[in-house]
């Protein structure tokens, strides 16, 4: 009753009157909305410089239009661009194969522990690296595995051959992948552990009464409980597949050279902000962004076809 009379009252007011009534709330929402618009939506307009011969002293309006000229590096396959693309794809494959499943396995392990206390202590330790900046993570890896690091000092003091890990261009992709695993595997278990705690324990009991082994329980009870969240995260991961870690790579680029370390994001940064080729850098960044959105939408579509919920429902 109350609800209905309220809506009728709302309908009677014009939009202007309603906004006037909500002026305090509008005032509340203004600063936050303005910041999101200014730093998320206005930059989208800035992408027009991808179609311009942008000169900083002329500004965006004053620079000449150049059509698709800036996109030539992509369409004609400029070697530096192809190198960045290749490294990006290699890293994204490594991340999908090794980084993505790691937290699922760790969450299963943590979930199968019988001692709540050990589980809690392990979680406290494993979540910690997530809160460290990439600068700290890279520095810690240097101190551990570098030429003068803990590992090599140990090997040297025992008259063993030292290992050349940091600054070794051949191992660079592996190093990047293991740094991500070290930093984020623990934290990423949170979502999987939440999903695991939602599984009804009666299902396990029923399965074990029916004679299901632990492996069969894992396959027929646990995995179906995790499927939704795994698919959701994989879709999000797919949308990010051309983003393979900017800070992490730019910090270590000097030591290994661009042949193995240049990825699309560092290409944009090095060519645009450092090199001054603003138009080309913006063009590459724009294509990368569009591909990302297309990938998310496509993956979501595929999830729907297979009857999963995906990121948003139909």
């Amino acid at each position: 009753m109350l609800q209905r009379s309220k809506t009728r009252q709302q309908q009677q007011l014009s939009l202007g009157q309603r906004l006037l009534r909500d002026k305090v709330l509008l005032l509340f929402a203004l600063p936050g909305t303005a910041l999101i618009v200014a730093f998320h939506y206005v930059p989208l307009l800035g992408n027009v410089i991808a179609f311009k011969d942008y000169q900083p002293f002329l500004g965006i309006g004053g620079s000449d239009w150049s059509g698709w000229e800036n996109f030539a590096v992509i369409f004609n396959g400029d070697p530096a661009f192809l190198r960045a693309l290749k490294n990006t794809l290699i890293l994204t494959c490594l991340q999908s194969i090794f980084v993505f499943p790691a937290p699922i396995l760790l969450a299963l392990l943590l979930n199968s522990l019988f001692s709540e206390r050990i589980k809690r202590i392990a979680q406290s330790i494993l979540y910690l690296p997530h809160f460290m900046s990439w600068v700290i993570v890279v520095a810690l890896f240097q101190q551990m595995l570098g030429g003068g690091g803990l590992l090599n000092n140990y090997l040297r003091s025992h008259d063993l051959a030292t290992l050349d890990i940091i600054g070794n261009s051949e191992l660079f992709h592996v190093l990047l992948t293991s740094q991500i695993i070290w930093k984020d595997t623990g934290w990423a278990t949170i979502l999987f552990l939440a999903a695991l705690s939602q599984i009804d324990s009666q299902l396990y009991e029923a399965a074990s009464v029916d004679g299901a082994s632990r492996m069969r329980q894992l396959w027929h009870v646990t995995m179906p409980g995790l499927r939704g969240i795994i698919i959701l995260l994989f879709i999000l991961r797919l949308g990010d597949s051309l983003t393979v870690g900017f800070e992490q790579i730019i910090l270590q680029q000097q030591a290994v050279g661009r042949d193995v370390s240049e990825v699309l994001d560092t290409y944009v940064y090095n060519n645009g902000v450092i090199g001054g080729a603003w138009g080309v850098a913006a063009a590459v960044g724009l294509v990368k962004g569009i591909v990302g959105v297309v990938l998310v939408l496509a993956a979501n579509k595929v999830a729907h076809i297979f009857g999963e919920q995906g990121v948003y429902s139909r």
Partner: protein
């Protein structure tokens, strides 16, 4: 059939349990050892550092010479003040702006709520790109200003959504009775909603604080003037790139070995996070975030 039953599930055999324990132990050790090594080296005596060739796990004695030289008023002291300023001021501003927006969006009758919510949600789907964002920051005159570290990242759409979900879960009767008692939106927000939201406010505040403290990319991108550098950039220059820190930079004649100075800089940037970490952790247990995300 002789297996022990715990919580209705048979206990796995000892090889499986030993294997699990080992995996967990290796993982935890890989996390802890670097931190122990860095902290130990920063306080270890010179002689021991030189003998070991770099990192020390168990210092024979403890001295704080490295820290004294860092806090003598040179590059590192200044960077520390920049980082503290950005973290404290940034977190306060972020919390204020995000809470106000989230509160407005959580009000059921707010006429502009729907379109603004869509603006917030949609911004999470794409990232605007490095170059265009740089041009906007440059356009509003924030280049080479300390505010470039705060303003562009002040509102996180994700945090706004989490806060909104929390505000919406507060019992409607409370805000309704405040309104009947004659409280306006400002009073309802300040006296009713905020005091009831301490848990979520502290989590979101800590997340903002960690993000500001760790910010490296925005500093690299927007700050050319090394006087404005936060700790993370100093860390990159003097620890990762191994640039020598002399008495000119440190502002003191007291010069402990580079290794212990470098490790002390690392410790200074790690310790604040270690301090707030237990507070953060207490709230993971409550599932504040995961609950809000799923809802």
């Amino acid at each position: 059939m002789s297996q022990k039953i715990v919580q209705g599930v048979p206990m796995p055999g000892w090889p499986m349990r030993a294997f699990k324990g080992l995996v967990l132990l290796v993982f935890c050790a890989a996390v802890i050892i670097p931190f122990v090594g860095v902290i130990s080296t920063s306080v270890a005596p010179n002689k021991q550092i030189n003998e070991s060739g770099g990192l020390v796990l168990f210092p024979k004695s403890v001295n704080f010479a490295a820290y004294e030289s860092l806090f003598a008023g040179g590059v590192v002291t200044r960077a520390l003040f920049v980082s503290i300023f950005v973290t404290v001021v940034g977190t306060l501003l972020s919390l204020t702006v995000s809470c106000l927006l989230a509160y407005a969006l959580s009000r059921p009758g707010f006429s502009a709520g729907r379109p603004i919510l869509l603006v917030v949600l949609f911004s999470m789907l794409f990232s605007p790109g490095i170059i265009p964002t740089y041009l906007v920051v440059k356009g509003v005159g924030l280049l080479d200003s300390i505010w470039a570290l705060i303003v562009p990242t002040m509102v996180s759409a994700f945090n706004v959504i989490v806060l909104r979900a929390f505000f919406m879960n507060l019992p409607n009767e409370i805000t309704e009775s405040a309104r009947i008692d004659g409280a306006g939106e400002l009073k309802t927000f300040g006296y009713i909603v905020l005091p009831l939201s301490k848990a979520v406010l502290s989590v979101i505040g800590l997340f903002y604080a960690v993000a500001y403290w760790n910010a490296f990319f925005s500093a690299l991108l927007y700050l050319n003037d090394s006087k404005l550098w936060p700790l993370q950039l100093v860390l990159r220059t003097y620890v990762i790139n191994d640039t020598q820190l002399g008495s000119a930079e440190l502002g003191t004649e007291l010069l402990p070995p580079q290794a212990s100075i470098q490790m002390a800089i690392l410790v200074v940037s790690i310790v604040p996070i270690l301090i707030i970490y237990p507070f953060l952790q207490r709230h993971f247990a409550k599932g504040v975030l995961t609950g809000a995300v799923k809802g």
